[in-house]
Symmetry: C2
Subunit: 152 residues, 2 copies
């Protein structure tokens, strides 16, 4: 069972785009905690860019870039935690549609990766206007996926 | 208060070595969850290297390198979550000594960063013997810090 789950998670990770091929979990609980943890860390860094993009914190190009690069890197992680059999095993807000509508979920995941990569590229310009322009669409991919696949 | 905590966390992050300068949290609970989350994600990737180093999983140089590079990157994160005032605010196994013995804690944190960086370098050689040689000391820095600063 352990091995099967790990192999399935591995297959799922490969399927969902450029997620690390090394994705494998001993049990569903670990996969759930892994995706929640990586999303939480990502969210902290993403919100720091948001504060600057929305004028709630002074713009610091270096800080923006550090955070955006972390976000782009961290964005590759949580997908691996959504393998088959990880719809339960620990408290989760993940909706069953993640596993019954895989094509749609995969589409959301790919948009998320695309926009966070664009955000990191924008942050490297050191230009607040470009950061703002890239932040909105990136934030929108979070919201769209949460609306479709995450319980309130 | 919020701003003070953020500034203190920022100062602490700067003090603990090359942690992201952007470290700042709205409240202690977020800092605690951040360090726990980043350690958990790191631990998952670290254990995959351990499985290969200890002969419990077949050695795959590419997978080892991917995981070791993630570990080296993730190792820079949790330190920022140990700023002043984050000894409570959410369930935590962090011992008070983290804040009363800062010099010692900092020393452990630096060793951890040094050894995980060495592990990533070793993983790039594609040589299992070098991976094994670097894994032991890296794992030892986890254990040493847990023994000194983490409740059972």
């Amino acid at each position: 069972m352990k091995k099967t789950l790990a192999l399935l998670a591995l297959a799922a990770a490969g399927a969902v785009t450029s997620l690390p091929a090394a994705a494998q979990f001993a049990k569903a609980e670990d996969a759930i905690k892994y995706r929640q943890s990586s999303f939480f860390v990502l969210g902290q860094h993403f919100s720091r860019i948001g504060a600057m993009a929305n004028g709630k914190a002074p713009f610091d190009a270096k800080v923006a870039q550090e955070n955006a690069e972390l976000v782009a890197m961290l964005a590759k992680l949580p997908g691996a935690g959504f393998g088959p059999g990880t719809d339960k095993g620990a408290p989760t807000k993940a909706k069953p549609e993640i596993w019954t509508e895989q094509a749609k979920f995969k589409e959301h995941a790919e948009k998320f990766l695309t926009e966070t990569t664009k955000l990191a590229a924008a942050s490297k310009t050191g230009d607040l206007a470009q950061l703002k322009a890239a932040f909105g669409p990136a934030a929108q991919t979070c919201k769209a996926c949460h609306d479709a696949f995450k319980d309130k």
